[in-house]
């Protein structure tokens, strides 16, 4: 992939007849061949399958017409917890090492209908549980800005590859920050849409009331183009709804200076203790840039947000313990080779061998908080706190705020291995993003600076439910006023 290609530029070139999907695929594969190994970003890289997909996209473009296909000829990378029929879908786990998806996720169908095609399946923290991509059974992913650092997680392979321009866009999933935090760590754009706006059918479930699929791109405009295709009602996901808004990419063109007249809320809790000094100064400059672009700044408070990590690690693990109960070594997935086992031991040994350390830890935590005697104290209480956090966000928006602005992560990318031994330190790296999932809101991370060591820093914008129009137009106006998104890692 030529290092400056975006979703938008590819669609334009395909429409003007200068590029075909197959040519775009070749460029993409060539760059991947030389760079992917350094990053360990890809779990499945099947050149023949990618070219066959590209040829099918070209046929579709020829039959229907590129003008009618919003993503004509766009190569897409897919996190390995999203099903692509006939392709391995491992979730970064030994449990599903040999599992081949039997159907396409709804988002994959939508992308293909729009003229896009899949070029690779991406590395991730096992079952999307992690914030550094070190929990993959197939090795850690490295940050393209400095290979000694983590790319963030759990969509680390997706983020690293897009930052390295191996493709213009990747799909990720975000349960507590898994799109936004790696986007921030890799210096790209990551969008977590409103819960319910993008179908989860075909996404291997982790925390079903929190999971949401979204795009990782190099520009906000590309995220809007993706959202135009991804959002929508799907009968296969009972929590999906018809998004009340549409025409995201068009809105960006029509309102390029959307920050003018907006009120941006700054939740003070995110700027108090625990914020890295360099991240803090990047954010201070970003707030000044937002003001320069015509927005008013208003300090707000989210009184219960400090409890979000605690509530999340009860709710998400409870849901995970139920969702991952399906992996039993009987119908598909890893089965122990142990002989003379009874059924219960077959389950136990298969699961113990198939799951990695973090996954087992979260399954046990979730099992514990749902167990008799502890359910009310932990699970019920966490749900109540979740409600309070949702109300805090609603009150902030009701006070006349259009968007909230926060750091995406309290720290810049950290070194590989640095937080592996301390589960809490790792969990706390999601403190700025988790509340957004608990409240079901849309959030986006955009690049807003770099540390002295050259590592990317991201800014998060948050909008009310189903208001991606304000979120994307606001983020786009910021992006137009700054240069950070143009920087590329020195690979």
């Amino acid at each position: 992939m030529p290092a400056n290609q975006t979703v938008k530029s590819i669609v334009e070139q395909v429409r003007s007849g200068k590029l075909t999907a197959v040519t775009a695929a070749h460029a993409c594969l060539e760059r991947t061949r030389t760079i992917a190994q350094k990053l360990n970003s890809h779990l499945h890289f099947d050149e023949a399958a990618a070219l066959a997909e590209a040829a099918a996209a070209d046929l579709r473009i020829k039959t229907i017409g590129a003008d009618k296909l919003p993503l004509a000829g766009v190569p897409v990378l897919v996190k390995d917890n999203i099903c692509v029929r006939g392709s391995k879908t491992t979730c970064g786990s030994k449990m599903l090492e040999n599992y081949v998806a039997t159907y396409d996720a709804s988002v994959i169908k939508r992308l293909r209908e729009a003229g896009a095609f899949v070029v690779g399946k991406m590395n991730m923290d096992e079952f999307a549980m992690g914030s550094s991509n070190e929990n993959s059974a197939f090795g850690a992913v490295r940050n393209p800005w400095n290979l000694e650092y983590v790319p963030g997680g759990s969509s680390g392979g997706s983020a690293a590859a897009v930052a390295a321009r191996l493709a213009p866009v990747a799909l990720g999933s975000d349960t507590g920050g898994s799109i936004r935090q790696p986007a921030s760590f890799c210096g790209i754009v990551g969008l977590k849409p409103t819960y319910g706006s993008v179908s989860r059918s075909g996404l291997v479930a982790f925390g079903s009331s929190l999971d949401q699929i979204g795009p990782l791109t190099t520009t906000v405009e590309d995220a809007a183009m993706m959202m135009d295709v991804l959002a929508g009602l799907d009968a296969s996901d009972s929590t999906s709804v018809k998004h009340p808004q549409s025409g995201f990419a068009k809105a960006l063109l029509e309102n390029p200076e959307a920050l003018k007249g907006m009120t941006i809320g700054i939740p003070e809790e995110f700027f108090e203790s625990g914020l890295d000094a360099e991240v803090g100064s990047c954010l201070e400059r970003a707030i000044a840039d937002v003001q320069k672009a015509g927005a008013k700044i208003k300090r707000v408070r989210l009184p219960n947000i400090s409890y979000s990590v605690a509530a999340y690690y009860v709710i998400a693990t409870a849901e995970a313990s139920a969702n991952l109960a399906r992996f039993d070594g009987v119908r598909y997935g890893h089965r122990t080779q142990g002989a003379n086992l009874n059924l219960k031991d077959l389950y136990r040994k298969s699961r113990n061998e198939g799951f990695g350390r973090e996954v087992k830890q979260r399954i046990m935590l979730g099992t514990f908080v749902l167990s008799s005697g502890y359910y009310d104290a932990f699970y019920s209480k966490a749900n109540k706190v979740r409600e309070l956090i949702s109300r805090d966000f609603a009150a902030a928006f009701d006070s006349g705020v259009d968007l909230l602005l926060t750091p995406t992560s309290p720290t810049p990318p950290f070194k590989l291995g640095e937080k592996l031994s301390d589960p809490l330190a790792m969990y706390l790296s999601d403190i700025c993003t988790i509340g957004v999932n608990l409240a079901g809101l849309p959030g986006i991370s955009v690049p807003c600076g770099r540390t002295k060591a050259g590592l990317p820093v991201g800014m998060q914008l948050i909008a009310p439910k189903f208001n991606e129009l304000t979120l994307l137009t606001g983020a786009h106006a910021y992006e137009r006023a700054t240069e950070w998104h143009k920087d590329q890692p020195p690979l």
Binding site: N98, Y99, T102, Y195, G196, L233, A235, S238, T239, S240, V241, Y307, A310, A311, Y313, V314, S321, A325, D328, G329, V330, R331, Y332, G333, R335, L341, N342, L343, K344, D345, L346, R348, K349, R351, N352, F355, K360, Q361, I363, M364, L365, T367, F368, V369, S371, Y374, F378, K381, A382, N383, K384, V385, R386, E387, L388, D422, P423, L424, Y427, G440
Partner: protein
Amino acid sequence: MSKIQVDRELVRKVADLAHLSLSEQEIGLYQERLAKVLSYVEQLDEVHESLDKNWRPDTSRGEAGVSALERRDVVEGSLPVEEAMKQAPARIGTAFQVPRILE
């Protein structure tokens, strides 16, 4: 919420409920890690919530804009049996094979 004493017995009990057969070494590891996370999670106890008595978590999400979508009860195509069985680690004909349950 009282302080939870995470001992080896509790880890064994939870692992059993979760269908995991942990080694003695793993029990020690998770004893330490779960204790650390649970003592952090216990801060939820500090929150004084004043939610309406009728508030319920399972219905609250609906009023917030996401309601359960229902499908019409009609027969649709599904994955062919052969394809569904293809990835079974062990099978007999069209049945998944498991160890004998009844003696």
